[in-house]
Amino acid sequence: MKTRVFAQRLVAIAILAWAPAAAFAHQGLQSVAALVAPDVPTELRWVRNAKDAQEVRGAVAKALAANSLTVHDAIKVAHLNNPGLQAAYNELAIDKRPFEQDLYLAAQLVVRLAAETAKAYIRAVAAGQIADFVVQARAAADAEADLARRMAEIGNWSALDYMRRQLAYAEVTALLARAELAVGAAREHLARQMGVAAGAFSLARTLPPVPERPARADGLDTRTFAERFDLQALRYEVETQRGVLGLSRVTGIVDLMQAGSLRAPNADEASMMFQENTVPVFDWSESTDPLAEYTYMNAVHRLADAVVAARSQIRAAYGAYRTAFDLSHHQRGEILALRKRMGEESLLRNNGMLNSVFDLLGERREEIAAVIATIEADRDFFLAETALRYTPAVDVAGIVLSVDQTEAAPHSHGPSGH
């Protein structure tokens, strides 16, 4: 996983020299790209004329021409082509926020769009893979119903026996319609992230294999503070307030990693200003503003509160990731493996005329159901992995383990909603 320190963020910001109102328009995207590079190495384009538009169209067409779109290319297309993101650039250029705050906001939008696009991509591939197996299940039910009809026609079976099989086929047919609807909806969602038509791209038929070993959780939630853009923005607010209020004499230290608890400064902290995990508290009598204490401490506690929330979110994201990893392996290594072996045993019984071809096809449908549950478990793993990848940078709320297996249509909220 990436490592990065607070100081590097400040370097990116320090190079600006433009007046605040025009700064984002002139230098914003370059700085945003530098900010998000550790999370999402990507290309950002602000389309401002026909030439820009033509270049973007060319890059998008090239990425979409592939036999199967990669998740990396899907994110690249989204960043080049998502109209909501273009709208956000323009909005940031005309707002009255300090340039730094614009950068943090833009960075969050860019990373969130990457996360949403990756999520949509995973759902779309999985939906297609599931539908392929529902087609197989329908083929099994179709063969059962067909044989049952022939059995009834020559008098080997009653109408009731035949109707039982026909009913099973009818039910699987309904399942397939729903599976195909889910494929369409998932593709549309991905298409919206990329700003293209749903028919404009081809996807992989299968999800990649889930890794053999899980990522480790070491130090994950202590890195949060340095890397989250929303925390950076809040911290910037505290620093700005200090300057505005004219505070410099340190009387206490607020430890952000201890839920904002206040303590006396050590000797070497008395002259220090901001450190990675702490913010200073000052002698309020320094300021000419009688409300200095409340104005400043409001900003400090909002920051501390956000740090608590961010650390909790990332721990939850890792918990969800780890459970999804275990469930995926359990589903494949235990449940699906048992189903396959049961299918083999069932076939041995069929060899001995100990069961019927209807039993065999029924077992096969059960096995297909286990395959579908395995694809769903893999999908949930990759969704949880996506959440874990981006949570250190932004609040990716909503991208957590999907507990509800029946959920068919993906959520739809793009960056334009933020």
């Binding site: 197989q136 083929a139 099994a140 179709d142 063969a143 067909d146 044989l147 022939r150 059995m151 020559i154 080997n156 079976w157 026996d161 299918g343 045993e345 076939l347 041995l348 019984r349 069929n350 060899n351 001995g352 005329m353 100990l354 069961n355 019927s356 071809v357 209807f358 065999l360 096809l361 096969r364």
Partner: protein, 427 residues
Amino acid sequence: MVSRREAISGIGAALLGVAAVARSVLAQVPDAPSRDSPAFQPPLMPPNGPPYNPVVTLNGWTLPWRMKDGWKEFHLVAEPVIRELAPGMKANLWGYNGQSPGPTIECVEGDRLRIFVTNKLPEHTTVHWHGVIVPNGMDGVGGLTQPQIPVGKTFVYEFEARHSGTFMYHPHADELVQMAMGMMGFFVVHPRDPTQHRVDRDFVFITNAYDIDPGAKTPRINTMTDFNLWSWNSRVFPGIDHLAVRRGDRARIRIGNLTMTNHPLHLHGYNFRVTCADGGWVPPGAQWPETTVDVPVGAMRAVEFEATAPGDCAFHCHKSHHAMNAMGHDVPTMIGVDHRGVGRRIVSLIPDYMIMGERGMADMGEMEMPLPDNTLPMMTGFGPFGPLEMGGMFTVLKVRDGLARDDYRDPGWYAQPPGTAVREWTG
């Protein structure tokens, strides 16, 4: 080499904490011989005591005894055993002295018998001498005529064999379980006069039934009617010994039935007479000619015939399901079902699937497909003209010229004289 019985009983003793029998007591108890194979055993000629013409137990043996102070002393050990039902299938059963059924006990009218019974089962047991007239206290009915024999204990039954005839022994304690697990044996009392009821070849077996799920080894003891393995002496075709008889011999077949249904046993090529039942010998004037003897539950029959005509004569239960091995009773009839188009679709879903049954089930007799572990084909066996398509209670009586008196070996398939066999009509 440690026999399987010794190994198993050793494990049993260790697991159950069976107390070792005191050495002084042990010294008085005769040996308990054991067998670990269902292979054919020649008749046991009596080494002592009054002479008699011994029987042949299909896939079994006769328990040796010792004479002591005028008593014939036998030792039965009730214990878990592993019985091969036919090559390719072994069952976890309970039996006596290493096998199920237990060894045949043979004695002579007037013999004084002392039968030691050691219980190495995980639960108590008794032995009932089915059909034998004994003092009430020797009848072996747990709770009624005796306390059950506890685990690890040895009890002694003593009685005089008063009537010659055809009998059995089996537990009368937790009887349902112990018989479902295979505990039973044949018991023959020979006439004092060896010329009386004399035959040249005297075969014995007990019909029994098991319900063993394909792929499993242990009978489902709670099954009442739907058994899937119908056996003679805990053997099924093609595992049952054939009956080799010298042409001109007088042959007897004695059958006991310890299943829960009757078995009409049909012999091809001969008509026979029922000469003995559980109550004793049938007077010649009352003997009834048959080719199928229906053996009721809990009863015995002996049939006799002069083996005048050479040939390979099928001998089987006439309930056709009883001449089959385990099969799928819920499998629907597929005869006549047109598989065109569907078969290929099924194979695309289940690559190793093979269409069977649309013309009947005879395919099964010819094909040798992989089956669940420890499972016999429903119908199997090959003869000189093709698949026999049999299982369960089926074997062959082989009457041949020129066999030696005690030669019971397989004489091979019968060579039919030219012009005596069925032929295709070609106009």
